[in-house]
Subunit: 112 residues, 2 copies
DNA sequence: GGCCTACATATAGCGTCTCTACCTATGAGC
DNA sequence: GCTCATAGGTAGAGACGCTATATGTAGGCC
């Protein structure tokens, strides 16, 4: 899959992954790999900056915790993040509807 | 709709719009507005460079024609463009499948 | 003990792509 | 003649994800 295709949809993926649970960055990457069957293999250099962006935007908050002597920054959604996720889902549905309409069923254009 | 969301899918839209017919740039914009019900309103500064990119890539070719004294550069798909369109459609299907899987049915994660 | 790998977070620089904002040119209508 | 709609085009900017790299700990292996 083209990496660029994610552009503009990464936030939605991260928010959705954090929906109803809290994870640290590394775990988010693994979770996305799982649910996508390996199709999504986001590099850390993509995820960590994105999470900080989301935190700056107030969509997630993070807590430091030490597990097994290893520091982890655990993220979870805020109220605003929940709303944002909702909005992202709507936007995604609208987006796919529009693009599907253009790409069509592989059909030519009915010159109505 | 967020404009950036198109990123990486613009080529697919343009190729699909040219599938089975030839249009000039301005007409492509209008065609996309029509099929999307107004949701897609691409600025010329987006479309013209994209078409040139597609032409450089060999996916479309253009002919100058003069209609009513006005010059028009009419684009149409090449064989490679047809193949590219096919590939774009497949990529789109795969892409939506993956993202849909992550965004889920609005469902929480089954803590299995 | 020393070394390497896996885990975990983070930053810098790069390249690409779309958008905004402009510019040019013609024909038609006023 | 002037303005508007049509039509094509370019320049510059900004955003964003990727690649590459750096840091530090825990645990296994030799």
């Amino acid at each position: 899959m083209k990496p660029d295709a994610l552009r503009g949809h990464l936030d939605a993926l991260l928010l959705a992954t954090l929906d109803g649970r809290q994870l640290h960055g590394y775990a988010i990457i693994e979770a996305l790999q799982q649910v996508s069957g390996g199709a999504l293999d986001l590099p850390t250099g993509t995820v960590y900056p994105a999470l900080r962006r989301l935190e700056r935007a107030g969509h997630v908050i993070s807590d430091w915790s030490t597990v097994g002597g290893r520091k982890r920054r655990t993220y979870r959604l805020t109220q605003a993040g929940q709303k944002a996720l909702h909005a992202e889902r709507s936007a995604w549905r609208e987006f796919t509807t529009v693009i599907d309409g253009v790409l069509g069923g592989g059909g030519k254009w009915a010159q109505t």
